[in-house]
Symmetry: C2
Subunit: 98 residues, 2 copies
Amino acid sequence: MPNMPSEVILDEMENLLNIASDFTRLKIMYAISEREKSVSDIVEEVGASQSLVSHQLKVLRKANLVSTRKEGTRVYYALADDHVIALLNVVYEHVTEE
Amino acid sequence: MPNMPSEVILDEMENLLNIASDFTRLKIMYAISEREKSVSDIVEEVGASQSLVSHQLKVLRKANLVSTRKEGTRVYYALADDHVIALLNVVYEHVTEE
DNA sequence: TGCATATATGAAAAACTATTCATATAATAA
DNA sequence: TTATTATATGAATAGTTTTTCATATATGCA
């Protein structure tokens, strides 16, 4: 049973949750959860417009949830660390296990 | 490394994350994380208006994240299950551990 | 250089949500 | 009944965010 975190921590928690709580971004995170993918691959897998995916990748980048690597004209995105997967898993379990 | 969930599951995940991703609701969830509390207790601990707390409790209720018990004029709220705490913990760790 | 492809971005539109204010309901006590 | 306390709620406001559209930038190739 956790204690009430400080306002600063709560703020950061709110921010992380906000970023995770979007349909398109959830799809993007799952799309790159096994291995890095290029933007066009992500666009295809997620089924959203190129512009939207690019905008949402920017949001994920700004929050340091993804890392990028440029190769020619392609940009490859990957999840920044395993915390993200842990979060996705907890949420997935809550939704499916009941 | 998880697979892409179905649209329905993603939708439910988005919904749960949306509900968790609010400063006031986070505070409320922490306030009742150790034991049930009455609305007025929550109002005091969270430091928000009675109206706002009541509105947000309704959101949490609708999502089945809290349970309620009425006793006289008081209504006591508690977390519905431990999944919620697991979620809070994962987010807390992500925010503090780096 | 000019052309094609990949990605990013600014601005506007559309949709949504938190918060406040005023008020309603419910229970209890005098 | 009237008054008081606890909680809930409808409506409006204020602020934010997602999505689209048009366009810009960057890279590679002919």
